[in-house]
């Protein structure tokens, strides 16, 4: 423990919001004897404690690394603005929650990056830790910085800052990476030598081993691997999820977090293939866990942590093929113990009355569906294989079952969208309202229909990775158009911030030149950009101007089908020609059946040793 930090913390904490976020000490955190530790890893999550502690990846990797003898992995989160100010004023460095030791003393610093708008938080954390921001300015094996997570499928905007990236699922590769580091330390390798060594691990991408060159029009001319670096780095996956380590003895936070419940991951991957959804493509292939494994994990974790709620998570849980046997057993266990069970990401096309009854055994929560688009034509174009009939039928069951609260999520600005599609949303909402009038079991309580629209952000490795994003003004016009047509006091309409989604689009498909922009925005004070309390569009616009970068190049321009893409060195298993085909089908409003109804040939099965998916 660092004496200075121990002396200063109690004086700062009374002045900041939610101080429990900064002290650690939670039930079942891992504390090791430093005399037995040769390698210290700081697992940094570039967002607040409440968000980071809700992240399953963090909990898995924390547990796995701490199982390694001689290695101690600790947690670090981004301090909220008030704490950051206090830390800077007191000269308190960023510290890890378990030991309260400065992050600058750690051997390896790992970032899990799940959201583009958390990039500046990485810089805040490095700076608070007193670590040089740029990879090229850090010498030797001390403070080796690597990153993984959903955003790192396009690692380029972070290439200036991160030494290497770990792509895909980290259960196995993280152990290999840490061991590679320990070996390098023992052998006294230089950082350069270590990066070549670690780059041999499948799934590891070292950006400094690639040169990016540009055409006069600003598009990428070529990505050149240097000195024998592989042309493409393929993401890692876990072959058998039933054998994979799972956090059944989790850390139990001492303050409320966003997902304050047991998280049971029923499968990885999604059978659907919605054309806008990055996770739907990059988490492939679909791998369900066995219901027996899941039941054991659930009971073990619930008894260990004492949670009174469990959520069955995945990208689309109602598509989990053993949902019925699993929920049958779990409902019985949970109902007897007043444990609430929730199934998020329900789909309107396979929602059943039975499942609904099971879910409301302990507590009735709200119903949320994401039709994503207002007309069948557009739903087909985005491959959201849900029909209006599905949605209305589901609502009918729910209203008849006593629900009077429905949330509906849509996107605006989708490729091929017209005003007719926008108005289709209003039309669908009214049909849902009328369904309530016709079928509600109790009309006295009224109904609340919450409608939310998000601004479509084209993402790498999706069928829409080449598509332009519409102008924020145009998005807002469509929002207003929809609002004018949602005139019902039972309907509440919210839309996402246009400016935030615009910057998300810039960063999501950004190249290496964006590193300078992220840094310039951060130097101007941008931080915690995903939080409305802090998001400051003007700082980003000034940073883009300062770096001479036109944001429309990454947003409204649209990318050429033959253009070299910044993320072309990465292979997520899904092939580019498949994505191109998906795009073509979108323009023909042609659906692609889900994986269970026929293999669309995306290529992700190639990641499996057996070569065959089990959707």
């Amino acid at each position: 423990m660092n004496k200075r930090i121990e002396a200063l913390l109690p004086r700062i904490l009374p002045r900041v919001q939610k101080p429990a976020r900064y002290v650690g000490g939670e039930y079942n955190q891992t504390v090791k004897d430093l005399a037995q530790v040769d390698t210290r890893v700081a697992f940094c999550f570039p967002d607040t404690y409440e968000i980071g502690m809700s992240n399953l990846g963090l909990r898995i990797l924390y547990g796995i690394v701490n199982q390694m003898e001689g290695v101690w992995c600790e947690r670090v989160f981004t301090p909220w603005g008030d704490m950051e100010e206090e830390m800077r004023a007191a000269g308190l460095p960023l510290f890890a929650l378990e030991s309260h030791d400065p992050v600058g003393e750690f051997d390896m610093i790992a970032f899990s990056v799940g959201y583009e708008m958390s990039y500046t938080n990485i810089l805040t954390m490095l700076d608070l830790a007193g670590i040089p921001l740029h990879a090229k300015d850090r010498e030797g094996l001390h403070n080796i910085i690597f990153a993984g997570g959903a955003c790192t499928y396009n690692p380029e905007p972070l290439a200036d800052f991160i030494d290497f990236f770990s792509l895909g699922e980290g259960e196995e590769s993280t152990v290999e990476i840490v061991n590679c580091y320990r070996d390098a330390k023992r052998r006294g390798l230089s950082k350069e030598e270590f990066l070549w060594e670690v780059g041999k691990i499948p799934g590891v991408y070292v950006p400094s081993h690639y040169e990016h060159s540009y055409n006069p029009d600003g598009t990428l001319a070529a990505i050149t691997p240097l000195d024998g670096a592989p042309e493409k780095v393929t993401k890692r996956i876990v072959q058998d999820l039933d054998k994979a380590w799972y956090p059944t003895e989790p850390i139990v936070p001492m303050t409320e977090i966003v997902h304050d419940r047991m998280n049971l991951e029923v499968m990885r991957g999604c059978i659907r293939g919605c054309r806008f959804c990055q996770a739907g493509y990059t988490y492939r292939p679909v791998r369900p866990r066995k219901p027996e494994t899941l039941y054991e994990q659930a009971v073990h974790a619930l008894e260990f942590a004492g949670d009174n709620e469990i959520t069955l998570s995945s990208l689309s849980t109602s598509d989990y093929k053993y949902l019925e046997p699993l929920t049958d057993r779990l409902t019985e266990y949970c109902a007897a113990r007043n444990i609430n069970m929730s199934v998020p990401s329900l789909r309107a096309d396979n929602f059943s009355r039975d499942l609904m009854l099971k879910l409301q055994k302990v507590r009735k929560s709200g119903l949320t569906f994401a039709p994503e688009a207002g007309t069948q034509r557009l739903r087909d174009a985005i491959n959201k294989n849900v029909t209006e009939e599905d949605v209305l039928k589901t609502c009918q069951i729910a209203f008849a079952g006593g629900w009077n609260n429905v949330k509906l999520y849509f996107m605006l600005g989708l490729p091929t969208e017209t005003d007719e599609d926008v108005l289709g949303i209003a039309d669908l909402v009214y049909k849902i309202y009328n369904t309530w009038k016709d079928y509600a079991s109790n009309k006295n309580r009224g109904v609340r229909i919450h409608v939310a629209t998000a601004f479509f952000v084209p993402k790498p490795f999706t069928g829409f990775q080449w598509e332009p994003q519409i102008d924020p003004e145009e998005y807002l016009r469509r929002c207003r158009l929809l609002k004018e047509h949602l005139n019902n006091k039972s309907v509440e309409y919210n839309y996402h911030e246009a400016k935030l989604s615009e910057l998300e689009a810039v960063l999501a498909r950004g190249d290496r030149r964006l590193g300078a922009v992220i840094e310039a925005a951060w130097r101007r004070g941008a931080k915690l950009d995903g939080w409305m309390e802090y998001f400051d569009y003007d700082k980003w616009i000034a940073a883009l101007d300062e770096c001479g970068i036109d944001r429309s190049f990454y947003t409204t321009r649209g990318f050429g089908l033959d253009e070299v893409l910044a993320w072309d060195s990465i292979d997520p298993g899904v092939r580019k020609d498949f994505l191109r085909r998906e795009r073509e089908r979108a323009y023909r409003s042609e659906i692609t059946p889900d994986c269970r109804h026929g293999c669309a040939g995306c290529g992700a099965n190639g990641l499996l040793e057996c070569g065959k998916c089990d959707p």
Partner: protein
């Protein structure tokens, strides 16, 4: 209703009242002790904490009140023992029992405030003669202050800031030096109203800041020591 007497200190002091409630609920479950749940739309375990504690304040006399579920046959006296190994750091179960005094009987609480005068708390020496003399001056000033018949302070409440005279809510107060604290520290030990209305002992510091700004401490550690009924018998 049964009760659990426990300590809250260390890292746990930074958890809020609601956080502590959640932590206790989970701890009961971990210990395999089923609590009775309310009926209705969202069933809640019957569990409450008698006197919510401010964030940052330690206590060695916290009481949680709970009802066991039907069929839960753990002897009440054993509950504290069962919970001990599954409680989070900083929470220590002392005793569990039935037939506690009625909550309405709770009248007074004793708290200890350790006021430190050492700048930022880092690197400065804290044992020189001038500090000693400053300490004596402060003790005198504070004794005079708390002898006043009236001490009004601003209290933050849900309805906004309210003026409150805290003098009548102080039953006794001692100002002196502590044994195990830095030489410049001043220790207040006070018995104050525990309910109707409650006096948060930290308001004693607020009063100091208002009336004796030169005595504003650099750091305060507050600990609840004991609670009593109207006759100053220990409340359980």
């Amino acid at each position: 209703m049964s009760r659990l007497l426990f300590i809250k200190e260390g890292v746990a002091v930074w958890s809020s009242h609601l956080d502590l409630m959640r932590a206790l609920m989970r701890s009961f479950r971990r210990a395999g002790i089923d609590l009775k749940h309310s009926q209705g739309f969202t069933p809640h375990p019957e569990l409450s904490i008698l006197m919510p504690l401010s964030v940052g304040v330690e206590s060695q006399c916290e009481i949680a009140e709970f009802s066991l579920a039907e069929g839960c046959d753990v002897p009440v006296g054993e509950i504290a023992v069962r919970m001990a190994p599954v409680l989070p750091a900083g929470i220590r179960a002392l005793e569990s029992y039935e037939d506690g005094q009625k909550t309405g009987k709770l009248a007074w609480l004793r708290a200890r405030l350790e006021l430190t005068y050492d700048g930022s708390g880092v690197g400065e020496t804290d044992s020189s003669a001038p500090l000693r003399s400053a300490q004596n001056d402060r003790i005198e000033a504070l004794r005079t202050l708390f002898a006043r018949p009236s001490l009004t302070v601003q209290k933050h409440s849900k309805k906004g800031d309210v003026e409150m005279d805290i003098a009548p809510m102080i039953r006794e107060i001692q100002v002196g030096t502590g044994t195990a604290c830095p030489p410049s520290a001043v220790v207040l030990e006070a018995v104050v109203a525990a309910q109707n209305p409650t006096l948060n002992p930290l308001l004693l510091v607020t009063a100091m800041e208002k009336y004796l700004p030169e005595c504003k401490p650099d750091h305060v550690v507050c600990r609840r020591l004991e609670i009593y009924d109207a006759e100053m018998n220990v409340f359980r």
